[in-house]
Amino acid sequence: MRKREEESLAIPMSAMIDVVFLLLIYFIVTMEDEIPEAHLAINLPSPGSKKQDQSVAPRLLEVQVYKNELRLRGKIMTYSEIDNFLERFSPTGKDSTVMVQVSQRARAQDLVLALDLCRKHGFNNLNVLTIND
């Protein structure tokens, strides 16, 4: 009698283990690495506005973005030169508006490079305009 009671209390585990392993394999196969994404906020000119509103920001910094080339106020500079300039400029000029003028032939990576560099030094007011070249 005791043996029968003991047998009826036993829970059949083998089928459950099979299901558990199947679930595990499913989740391992379907798992994907999530790529961390950064959002670089920009301001576009409002429709119909032709001139920049100089009264909004008295200090203006101009960065030109070309394909594989960056310029600061029209002067060709390397990435590290612009980085050093922005580092020296930023303590007094964080409220500056940065005009990012982008060539039509520049790629998205070139634009992101410039925006990222400006964001690195705390310039968050980034206005993007197109250079008609």
Binding site: I17, M31, N43, Q109, V112, L115
Partner: protein, 152 residues
């Protein structure tokens, strides 16, 4: 003698089941249901100085933009320019379709929602400018974010 030989043939399973259950719980918790709506075919530009955005996000509209490729991986060129495709949540859209979607979202929420642009790193700015000017700025969406791969 038989009992002891039977005992040595048994493998201890209980600890293994515990580990398996822990793994299952881990994968269930980390699995994301809405991964299907992310366009993973786009190679985003790299932003090495900017940290990733936090998980809690406001409502936003994400526009995916890339150059179309054929079956062999070559760019599809139409009239001398690469063919650009746009999609929102993997739904293909034209520029007009994007405008309509944004206007519908604006009407529903009563405000200009943030727009995120996930664009392939090699797309020329002239095509991005078409999207920015013709689809976004024209209807008043002037606050836009370009999405890039964040630094770790």
């Amino acid at each position: 003698m038989r009992r002891s030989s039977d005992a040595t043939l048994e493998t201890p399973v209980t600890q293994m089941i515990d580990i398996v259950f822990l793994l299952i719980i881990f994968f269930v918790v980390t699995a994301s249901v809405d991964n299907d709506l992310v366009d993973n075919t786009i190679s985003l530009a790299q932003a090495k100085n900017t940290k990733a955005e936090s998980i809690a996000k406001k409502m936003s509209v994400t526009i995916n933009m890339k150059m179309e490729k054929d079956a062999s991986g070559k760019l599809v060129v139409v009239n001398g320019r690469p063919k650009i495709s746009y999609n929102i949540a993997l739904q293909p859209k034209t520029l007009q379709g994007i405008r309509q979607t944004l206007l519908a979202v604006k009407e529903e929420t009563g405000d200009f929602v943030p727009v995120l642009i996930r664009v392939d790193r090699n797309v020329e700015y002239r095509y991005i400018d078409e999207l920015l000017q013709n689809a976004l700025a024209r209807i008043g969406f002037t606050k836009v974010s370009i999405v890039a791969v964040a630094s770790e």
